[in-house]
Symmetry: C2
Subunit: 206 residues, 2 copies
Amino acid sequence: MEDYPSKLLAKAVEQLSTLPGIGRRTALRLALHLLRQEKEDVSTLGNAIINLRKDINYCSECYNISDLELCDICSSPKRNSNYICVVEDIRDVMAIENTAQFKGKYHVLGGIISPMDGIGPSDLRINELVERVKKGEVEEVILALSTTMEGDTTNYYIYKQLKELDVKVSTLAQGISSGDELEFADELTLGRSLLNRIPYESTFAK
Amino acid sequence: MEDYPSKLLAKAVEQLSTLPGIGRRTALRLALHLLRQEKEDVSTLGNAIINLRKDINYCSECYNISDLELCDICSSPKRNSNYICVVEDIRDVMAIENTAQFKGKYHVLGGIISPMDGIGPSDLRINELVERVKKGEVEEVILALSTTMEGDTTNYYIYKQLKELDVKVSTLAQGISSGDELEFADELTLGRSLLNRIPYESTFAK
């Protein structure tokens, strides 16, 4: 371990290097950067971090991050409550909102099942999803998780919880990305896009 | 700009992305990581950042970061006050200490002259260096700045301040390649370049 000449500095480096993707060298660089900033600016940064965790609120319906009891999407009369799109976190909500293709509501799990990271079903908002569906308004649950082993596991777990209920469960189409060269697509993706081929007419813009 | 569903989150992302090398996407990833941690742990991180800047102390002799009035090196009877090694920041002190080749003391400038970043000679501890030399104990000042344009400029500026005084001014041997950052040099190269330091005048182009 490196020997820092100041406990304050050692503490800051140790703390900054707990952040994902930040090693001790980068942490020291960040700490020296902070020392060159104004005292007030550094306090603003520190307090923004503390307050984020202390005062954060989650939408009581979809569990997305929200300053209000209900998030903007859940409280909007323009969104269709019959469709629920299940995602891992807020970044996925933002990505799907950017497509402007989805007019239903969301359900934010807060992660995916990952035994390696010690995350099991009870750490996620899966029971809350089942409760939402049991209320009867939901017609279709769209699983929009990452197409990884963990995503597949989580999809299957949720599917098992929902299959006794009167609700359609769908998942995102897998295939080649727009603009992809066919020869560079991986075999699994290419194979699936072939198996799940769709009528050509359905790709016409309406 | 992206549209965050929470002012707290937007504020945290905005603040985290003021850090060097951290863009908005990484800042959002860090913010979501923080939300998954314990409240106390996040407070510890935030306070470590705030306290670092608020309570930091610099050695009154060499201006290295130090919890005490005098740093461990300046207060050590084993270190030779006749030799002063001038460096940019604490990372360079740590790098040179790791070579175990230097038994003198340091002078930490707190940066290098860089008009692009608005850093001039008066922002650095150059006057303080001149005052230390004027006290008469110093026989040799070893300039150990990065071998970049900014480092060269700073070397020359310091040399001009010191050349009327009765002190030898040397610089690290060119074992380090031009354009290298000091902190990334390997210990052997850095140690050798310190042992083989040469009179500053001999580095002038003829």
